[in-house]
């Protein structure tokens, strides 16, 4: 059986049972639930501090009405960052490399922001489709451009996350294969390639965290 570089992105299944459900449920298992204590242990305190800090930062540009999204956005961020980081472990499957999962997050949440905007303040929601101070001849063109940019947002959100993670995983696999192949033939080149692989892995750790943050930040800014 020919092993290709894209096998790592195949949705895993065992005896016909899709294992992606276990992969998606795994982040929930890894975070301890805070007990009903006045003062918790160090781990739960640090976990709570990070989540609170992040949620505060995310809610800064939003008005009080937007704070209703705090729970959803914070939990989405924790979920994405955990899945992305777990996917960097060898031989693990990364669910966020699947476009279906990312579009499954992006489209409903983006649609919710649009529908809520149209329902609560339709004049302002429609008015934002034309930038203020546009010259008269450009008005129809700009309205069409802004409408297209609105409709393309969920696609951009989903594809950005998918492409970044897929490309990163593919690069890691390619360079790791290069190191493995070069080791018996040209050890010096293999060591240099291994150094590149190390730096790339550090970059992928950063990308995993940043892409999760960008996904959630852009969603919050669409509100």
């Amino acid at each position: 059986m020919m092993v290709s570089f894209f096998d790592q992105f195949a949705s895993p299944s065992y005896l016909g049972i899709p294992l992606i459900a276990i992969a998606i449920a795994l982040p929930w298992v890894l975070y301890p639930t805070p007990p009903a204590r006045w003062i918790n242990n160090r781990l739960i305190t640090i976990q709570g501090w990070f989540i609170n800090r992040f949620t505060n930062q995310l809610m800064l540009p939003l008005n009080v009405g937007g704070h209703k999204w705090a729970l959803l956005l914070a939990s989405l961020m924790i979920f994405l960052i955990t899945i992305n980081m777990l996917g960097l472990l060898p031989y693990t499957f990364t669910p966020t490399t699947q476009l279906s999962l990312n579009m499954g997050f992006a489209v409903p949440l983006w649609l919710a922001t649009v529908i809520i905007g149209m329902r609560n303040q339709p004049t302002i929601a429609l008015g934002h489709l034309l930038p203020e101070g546009t010259p008269i001849p450009l008005i129809p063109v700009l309205i069409i451009i802004e409408t297209i940019s609105l409709l393309i947002r969920p696609l951009a959100l989903g594809v950005r996350l998918t492409a970044n993670l897929t490309a990163g995983h593919l690069l890691i696999q390619l360079i790791a294969t290069a190191v493995f192949v070069l080791l018996p033939m040209m050890p010096t080149v293999a060591i240099l390639t291994a150094a590149v692989l190390f730096l790339l892995t550090l970059l992928e750790v950063a990308v995993a965290m940043i892409q999760a943050y960008v996904f959630v930040l852009l969603l919050s800014l669409y509100l």
């Binding site: 004049t123 008015g127 934002h128 034309l130 930038p131 203020e132 546009t134 129809p140 309205i143």
Partner: protein, 76 residues
């Protein structure tokens, strides 16, 4: 009750002006059609958007409902 409703209106206007990006339209004096279709007030922008969407919908409907010319059948 009257003072309370006045206060609410002025607070709402203050909130509209503080929340950046929204033009309260208080310092623009448009006349004629520009009063309803302009790119400065929020209602003007909304009306421009709705007019553009209505025009596009009308164009699509026009081309969909236009009767197609039937080619004359040539006798051989």
């Amino acid at each position: 009750m009257y003072i309370f409703s006045n206060m609410t209106m002025s607070i709402n206007r203050l909130r509209t002006e503080i929340m950046g990006g929204h033009d309260a339209g208080t310092h623009h004096q448009f006349t004629g059609i520009a009063k309803y279709f302009n790119s400065y007030t929020i209602t003007g922008r909304r009306n421009c958007v709705l007019a553009t969407y209505a025009s596009i919908a009308a164009l699509i409907l026009f081309f969909k409902l236009k009767p197609k010319k039937q080619k004359a059948v040539k006798s051989s």
